[in-house]
Symmetry: C4
């Protein structure tokens, strides 16, 4: 995706987070990457969504240097860049403080895969990072947050679980496009909510059997997928 399409897509993804009730005031941010151009487009820091336009979206290079735009980029930019660097198939990143996913992050518990809704999107529990060390907090905090996220995944370059919880903070999600990243953030919140209710109803609830987990993930993903319409890749 090239600018200015990317810029518009990033605006849309940010507004989707608002429409779905995932953000309060200016919390949360979505970005997108143009790998061809070596550019990232991201929400400006602390700007109200109501008045945000595509022109407010900040464009940086892959080191976070601002290339276009007069506003400061989101303070979480360095975390986004780290995720893009780790996952070559990520085209968008979304970060929110959506309340149930954040509660799991605060509880420092991975979200178990209790059901097929989870399995449709995340091929395993949604993991939670280790706590950052005081040194990692003191310097390059946002970059180190990204490093802690990426450490949870192997170097395969595939995002079978396009989400992670940052301990004591909140979720980050990614996807093939900014819209896909925002979509995954919405699903994650629903999955987090249902998992919270599940442990409330049955504190010892067991995760889904591996066979069923795979069945559902593969119904929606990969060459044997049969969910949706043929022209619809998802």
């Amino acid at each position: 995706m090239l600018l200015p399409t990317l810029r518009q897509a990033v605006l849309e993804a940010n507004l989707e987070l608002v429409r779905r009730g995932l953000v309060l005031y200016t919390f949360g941010n979505a970005s997108g990457i143009s790998r061809e151009e070596g550019l990232v487009a991201i929400k400006p820091s602390g700007v109200p969504y109501e008045t945000m336009s595509a022109a407010d979206i900040v464009v940086t290079d892959l080191n976070g240097q601002v290339m276009e735009g007069t506003l400061r980029p989101s303070s979480d930019l360095a975390t986004h860049l780290e995720i893009y660097s780790h996952f070559p198939d990520a085209g968008g990143v979304a970060h929110t403080h959506s309340e149930f996913a954040t509660a799991w992050a605060q509880a420092r518990r991975p979200i178990p895969c209790f059901g097929t809704t989870h399995a449709d999107y995340f091929n395993g529990p949604v993991p939670v990072t280790a706590d950052l060390t005081p040194a990692e907090i003191a310097s390059d905090y946002e970059k180190n947050t990204g490093v802690a996220i990426c450490r949870l995944f192997d170097r395969s370059g595939k995002s079978h679980i396009p989400a992670a919880l940052v301990a004591g903070h909140a979720p980050f999600c990614w996807g093939s496009t900014p819209a896909d990243a925002a979509h995954n953030a919405v699903i994650l919140e629903s999955v987090a909510r249902m998992a919270c209710y599940t442990v409330s109803i049955a504190p010892q609830a067991m995760p889904l059997a591996r066979e069923l987990h795979d069945k559902h993930f593969l119904r929606k993903h990969g060459s044997t997928a049969y969910y949706g319409q043929p022209q619809n890749p998802k």
Copy 2:
């Protein structure tokens, strides 16, 4: 109910699920059956509700062969067909991932009949299926899901409890029409929500006494019903 009335009723039932907040994105699906014509009408797979019209509803025969429509039917079609086959009085089926009913399904706990709201609609606890075996998951998964649901009920052909929870998945509901199935799905979610709060307030809460349960079910159902207006069969 004959086509095209059925087709319109199925569209309406799907939209009712959205209006009542039971579905997220394209999750969930409702269908209806014309037993006279041997046809089932069902939501297409993975199509957004906002733009869906009666023409998008897929019509199949009782073996799931598409008879009308250019879109793929819901991937859960085979489960619907199994329910129609088991319950001769079912005219509609609704499947959602509504969050509280899904939480009970994920917890693998039947929803106890804690109160008269439940008893008004479901003449007993809402049961949860056994886990499918790896073989049942590997082949004919959706049909086997339907078989697991029907195994919970006897062969009386009467639906005194027009709902079941699929373990680790979500609820399926049915009713005399597509609208009635969707209505039952809405009630089930409210009942599931109240049951979750009830066990949170009193983990050892006891189900309703049998006499009161029967009283409420029979206030609304059968020849001695006295709820609603005479011209209103429900």
Copy 3:
């Protein structure tokens, strides 16, 4: 309040219950009494709120005999009549299946007075009825429900706690007018919700000290009240 003012007030009270999210479909009903005329106006049974008009409100005498209207009165009429008979200062009654108050009723736990919001309206815990006996269920069920409610209160004729939970069923509230009864039903639901969260945060939470409880109740009620404006009795 005389007909037809009463009829309109009863319609309004029923609609307020809908607006505040206390009722699902046709659940719930509000009524009002004209003690001068010996008449009660109540919602018809099982009629949708969207199309209800003042003309649909059913008028009965104090024995439940229909005096005006062509529809059946709410099946809970006999419970309302019993409440009017017990509390001479009750001018309206509201019954809902609002989800948190119902959860307490299902849990068979009185709602403790945990805070001043509760104390502002209910001068003590909101009590829960004893279970009805099989004989009380078998005959005159709705009247016996009212008797069970009134048994919770003494014969003083004053409604310092204008609400009760029917075990395994749902709340009934009352007030000086139909609007006041509906208002109390809305407050009760909020109080029930906060009490549920309170026991979730602190299972051993203690009720409010008696002094603070009285202080708040008397800030709003009686001759020493100083909340609100002088011309506003509440």
Copy 4:
């Protein structure tokens, strides 16, 4: 801020509390102070928000004597005045019965700082007051409520935690302006909600490490802040 700007700002802050779902009926009130003029503007007691205009806002001196307006000021005025007296940097105060913050107040538990959302706004747990004595309740109750709040903080005159929970009652928040106080009330409710979910998921959840807590608070506050845009002090 001078009258009549203050009056308008107080109206706006009160309406923001309504828009964000923090108040039911007439519960809750926001005020603002003009330290230059020695005046406080506050919501009138028990007046519906729907019809409230800037002209209804009551203006008092710092002893609570009404200087402008024909309505009674909020019955919580004396609590507001005590907060203004204690915190020289407070320009606005907001009081609500928002349901999750109130639940923590009712549970008499400080809200632990479980995550960065909390740390962004409150530089420590949100404290809960001691119970008032019967004598403090009997006379000057509202003033003594303010005294109990202020006792939780030292005399530094800085509001690093611009919120407190009154035991068995509800939260009070403050800020540099009426809008800022209302904003903090909205954040507090979200933080209280997430903390409730957190202890539900992990009853033994640990608060955020001090280093991370400071990092987030200082990202948004003080001379080294780098969140938001340079022209935006918050």
